[in-house]
Every structure is written in C-alpha cells, then in structure tokens.
C-alpha cells in the first residue's frame, strides 16, 4: 500500500516539475518570438510561424522520433559527452524538458502573438511620443495590455505539457523518478491491471482538465469585459 502511494506521488511530482519548468522556459522564449511574429514585416516570418505550429498537426511519435535523433549521440549528445560525459539527452529529465518546449510551443506563442496583434501599433506609438524607450514601452505597455494572452498561453502550455504522452514515450522512456510522468504512469497501471491507481490518476486528470478549460474561459471573459 505504502509503495503504491509512492508510485503514484512520484509521477505527479515529476509531471508538475516538467510542466512548470517547460512553462517558464516557454514564456521566456515564446514572448520575444511572439513579439517578432506580431510586429515583423519579414516575408519569411509566416514560415517560422508554421514551423512553430507543426506540433499541432504532427503525430507526437514523429516529433518524438526526430527529437530522439537530435538529442542522441550524433546530435546534442555529441556536445554533452565531452562536457558532462552524457552520451545522449534522451531518457533524461532534461531531454523531456527540451521535447516539451517544442511540443507545447504553439500553445504559448499563438495566444501571446494574438494579444500583441490585437493591441495594434497605437499604444507603442503613444508610448514613444511620451519618451518611453522601446524596452520601457514593451514592459510598461505591451506586456500589461497582452496580459490575457500571457495567462492563456501559460495555462495552455502547462496543461498541454501535463497531457503529453507520445513524445514522452519516444524520448523519455519510462524511468521512475526520471521520466515516468503521469500520462505514462496511467498507461503503466492499466498494463499491469492496477485499476484503482489508474482510476485515481485518470480521474484526477479529468478534474484537472475541467478546471483548466473553465479557468481559461473565465480569463477570456474577464479580459473581454476589461477591454470594453
């Protein structure tokens, strides 16, 4: 009984760590990317936007397959081996974080980009005529105005990372306390006919998904009211 509870707690903690870290990284990487996609006049920016959106369409196993190669001995592993003696980043927590960043990127970049676009040029122009440098204008005007986009992006990025399965299986395997996250654990419990544990985790996920979608709707409603 004790070990079984421990078996359930470890994937939950691992999942939260993975999703939390991925979300933070995505906010850091996704914000400048979303800003560039919203503002740039470059003709090739939609090509970049398409690349970012690819995980929406690709089967997670395809993404996972390429990530496996990219993280392996002839990819990232070639860099990490002489430095840390690590032949591959696959089957590590770090590898999962990298995979999740790619996998969840569209869910973070798209809402933030939309929010930046909906804002239009005017607020930044007004800020510039009030002596605000581009950086100050970004922090004091663009970010607060795009707040609903950031919230949506963060919630979606977090939730989507929690729900990933295919990519994890391909590049993470099923190593307890290292890469065995919730979705894989549910699969495992079912495989080994531990229905009670599977029920608890699966039910928890259902409640979690419900809360995520409800809170998203409420955020958007609130934002629409504030903007009116």
């Amino acid at each position: 009984m004790e070990t079984q509870l421990g078996d359930m707690w470890s994937p939950i903690r691992l999942t939260l760590e993975l999703a939390g870290l991925t979300t933070v990284l995505l906010m850091l990487l996704g914000t400048p990317l979303a800003w560039w996609l919203a503002r740039s006049q470059a003709w090739w920016k939609e090509g970049v936007a398409t690349l970012v959106a690819m995980p929406l369409v690709l089967p997670p196993t395809v993404l996972g397959f390429y990530l496996l190669i990219a993280l392996g001995p002839s990819g990232a592993g070639a860099v990490t081996e002489p430095l840390f003696g690590l032949r591959t980043l696959a089957f590590t927590f770090e590898g999962l974080v990298i995979g999740s960043v790619f996998y969840s990127m569209p869910f973070v970049v798209q809402p933030i980009r939309n929010a930046f676009e909906a804002m239009g040029e005017r607020p930044m122009e007004v800020a510039a005529t009030l002596r605000a440098s581009p950086l100050k204008a970004f922090w004091s005007v663009a970010v607060p105005l795009a707040r609903p986009g950031f919230l949506t992006g963060a919630v979606l990025g977090f939730a989507h990372t929690v729900g990933e399965f295919g990519v994890v299986l391909m590049i993470g395997g099923n190593i307890p306390r290292e890469t065995k996250v919730l979705s894989v654990a549910v699969y495992d419990f079912v495989e080994t006919a531990q229905w009670r544990e599977a029920h608890i985790l699966a039910g928890g996920m259902v409640v979690f998904a419900f809360c995520v979608i409800l809170s998203m709707t409420l955020i958007q409603k609130h934002a629409a009211k504030a903007g009116a």
């Binding site: 005017r122 607020p123 122009e125 007004v126 800020a127 510039a128 005529t129 009030l130 002596r131 605000a132 440098s133 581009p134 204008a137 004091s140 005007v141 607060p144 105005l145 707040r147 504030a226 903007g227 009116a228």
Partner: protein
C-alpha cells in the same frame, strides 16, 4: 571682414523647418515647410491630403527621406534620424488612445520626467487648465469621449514637450463635445508658450485656434502664411468658399456700458460688438464672413448698421458668373487688416469699382471667434 555666424543660431524667431518627400504606401508626399516655432500653426486640407503624414514624420513615427529641424535642433537630416522617444514632442492622436490598464493619474504621469524640477508645465496647472481634478482616480473606460481627449492632451503636455503635435484631436467627437473642449484648448494656447502644430479639416476650429495656416492638397503644400493673409488671398480656395471669412486679431479699446457694447480695434478700424467681458487691452479674435460685408463708394447715410469701416480695394476675383470676391485693406490708405466682401458683378460694374478704389465697408455681422484668452487666464 567678420564672419557672419550661421543664421540658425542667431535668428531671434525660432523656426521649424520640415521637408519630406517620398512614398507612404500608394500615397506620395512632397512638402517643404518653414513654420514659426511659436503660436498655433494649423495644417489644413481635405482628408487624405497628407496632413497627418507630415505630423507623423515630424514626430518620427514615419520615416521619409528629408530633414526636420526644430528650434535649432536637428531631428532628421540626410544621415541622422532621431527616434520618436528622443524627440521632445507631445502628440495628441485623433482617438485619445489612453492606456486602459492605467488610471487617469498614471496616464497623465506616464511621460512626465521623474524629477519635478524638470516640470516647466506643472501637474497641478495641467489638471486645473483641463478640468481633470475630479477624474484623476478613474479608469479611462469610465470617461466620456471629451474627458478622454482632455486627458490625452494633459498627458502630452506633462511629458514636457517643446512642440505639441495635435492630429485632429476633435474630429472623433460630436459637436457638443467639441464645443466643450475648444475653450480648454484656447486656454492652453493663451497660457502656455508652446508651439503647436494642429491638423484639422474644420475651418471653424482653425479660425478659433490658429495663428498660422498651411494649406495642403494631395501631398503638397498649396500655401503657408498668417491665417488672415491666406483667408483673404483670392487665388486660394478659402476666399472662394461659399462661407469665406477673415479672422482679425483685435484688442478691446473701450467698454460702452451705457449701450452694452464693446469696441474692438483692429489695424485700420474699429468694430462694435455686443458686450464681451474683458479689460481694455484684452485680445479677442473676430471673424467676418464675406457675405456680411457690402460696399459703398460714398459714406453711407446713417443706418442701423453699427460697423462701417473705411478701406481700399486691394484686389478682386470673379466667383462663378454673378459674383465677385473683393479683398479690402482697412484704413484710408488700405494698409490695415484685410476684409473680404462678396458683391454681385452687376454692383461691381455699376459702382465702377476697381483696384485702388476707396470704399466704405458695411459689416452686418461680426463674430467673436474665440472667447478665452487675455489677462484673466494668465492669472492661473
């Protein structure tokens, strides 16, 4: 031989020179302007003539090849381009564009320098001038259109600009709201010594506010000069308009309390108008519509018309087939302020009028174009 210093440093009257030429999308702009860096200059013309583009180029919001020098400071030339946030401009957009996430107070202070010693336009004065005291803690969403635009003007002023750019600040507002805001703008211009470029397509606004006028047409400057001079130039479309009028800057010279009249002096003549408050010496702007002025070659017999002024015909241009637009100079020699008169071609020929003819102008209507100016406002 002494070397004469560069004129830009020595001219007593600071100027704004702006020249831009190039294409913005499908629209081509080609302007070259030298404007006084004091008082209010109106950029006037039909929509789509490039007024706003000129303003945006001066603010650095658009970049076209050209030069921009304001009061001796180069903002743009062949090699340099100072970005908007380093130009000491205030910009009031057509829509107030307040920051919705900030209160009125924080909107007002957004561009204000941290150091209060740098405030030559103090917060309290702006709040007072624009009547914002009761709005400070509100959110922009809870303001009326007129209130929002007043906050936008205040916000621009508090960034301590050395040039205020206003892009049709009233055009998004209804008539009643305009009339609510115009007195505030007049007070600003009376109290603050800040050059203003004011874009408008509404001649009534221009008459109330502007000292200098730039007429624009299809991306070009048609004419630039003092307001009254351009209004009375028969070669320009203003004088040919059905409701053509001329603005005169007048000074109160006498208050006739017995009859409830105020006497206002202009160069070359005097007008009597229904009593308007103000001490002798107070400045007022008058507007006389061409259709309200008729001409006589001999002093007219006594009539109920209050205002009969002597003048001389400076020029005349036919308007359609039946009418003439006549430019008068006030005073016996015709060297005073100008008036426009609209007369029929028949009268013109029957009276034998010609350039140089001495005439008496009977003025049936005089309007006070602005109300708020003069000493009582400078006490603030």
């Amino acid at each position: 031989m002494n070397v004469v210093p560069a004129p830009a440093q020595t001219t007593s009257m600071p100027v704004i020179t702006a020249a831009f030429s190039g294409a913005l999308g499908a629209f081509s702009l080609d302007v070259s302007l030298t404007l006084p860096a004091r008082g209010v200059t109106a950029l006037f013309g039909p929509s789509g003539c490039g007024k706003t583009s000129v303003l945006r180029c001066i603010a650095g919001l658009n970049r076209l090849p050209g030069t921009c020098v304001v009061a001796g400071e180069t903002w743009q030339d062949g090699t340099r381009f100072r970005p908007t946030h380093r130009r000491p401009v205030g910009y009031v957009f057509q829509e107030a564009s307040l920051f919705p996430h900030l209160s009125v107070r924080r909107n007002l202070l957004f561009g204000a320098p941290r150091d209060p010693a740098a405030h030559s336009i103090p917060f309290d004065e702006v709040v007072h001038l624009l009547g914002l005291a009761h709005l400070l803690e509100r959110a922009p969403q809870n303001l009326s259109g007129g209130e929002r635009q007043r906050v936008a003007v205040g916000r621009a002023l508090l960034s301590q600009p050395r040039l205020l750019l206003m892009d049709e600040p009233l055009s998004a507002l209804d008539r009643a709201t305009k009339d609510e805001i115009l007195p505030f703008l007049e007070r600003l211009h009376a109290v603050l010594d800040l050059p203003v470029l004011y874009v408008s397509h509404d001649m009534a606004e221009v008459e109330r506010l502007a000292d200098h006028l730039v007429l624009m047409e299809r991306g070009r400057v048609r004419a630039s000069g003092p307001l009254a001079v351009l209004q009375s130039d028969p070669d320009l479309p203003l004088a040919a308009a059905r409701d053509a009028s001329v603005s005169l800057d007048a000074v109160i010279s006498h208050q006739d309390d017995a009859y409830g009249l105020t006497e206002l002096s202009v160069r070359g003549g005097r007008f009597l108008v229904p009593a308007t408050p103000g001490a002798v010496g107070t400045r007022r702007r008058l507007s006389v519509v061409a259709g309200d002025v008729s001409l006589a070659v001999v002093p007219p017999s006594p009539s109920t018309i209050l205002n009969v002024l002597q003048g001389r015909i400076l020029s005349a241009a036919p308007l359609r087939d039946t009418e003439m637009t006549v430019v008068l100079g006030l005073g016996p020699a015709g060297d005073g302020d100008r008036l426009l008169a609209r007369v029929t071609r028949r009268s013109w020929e029957l009276l034998g009028l010609a350039e140089g003819t001495s005439v008496f102008a009977q003025v049936k209507g005089v309007a006070l174009a602005n109300l708020a100016s003069g000493p009582e406002m400078t006490e603030i």
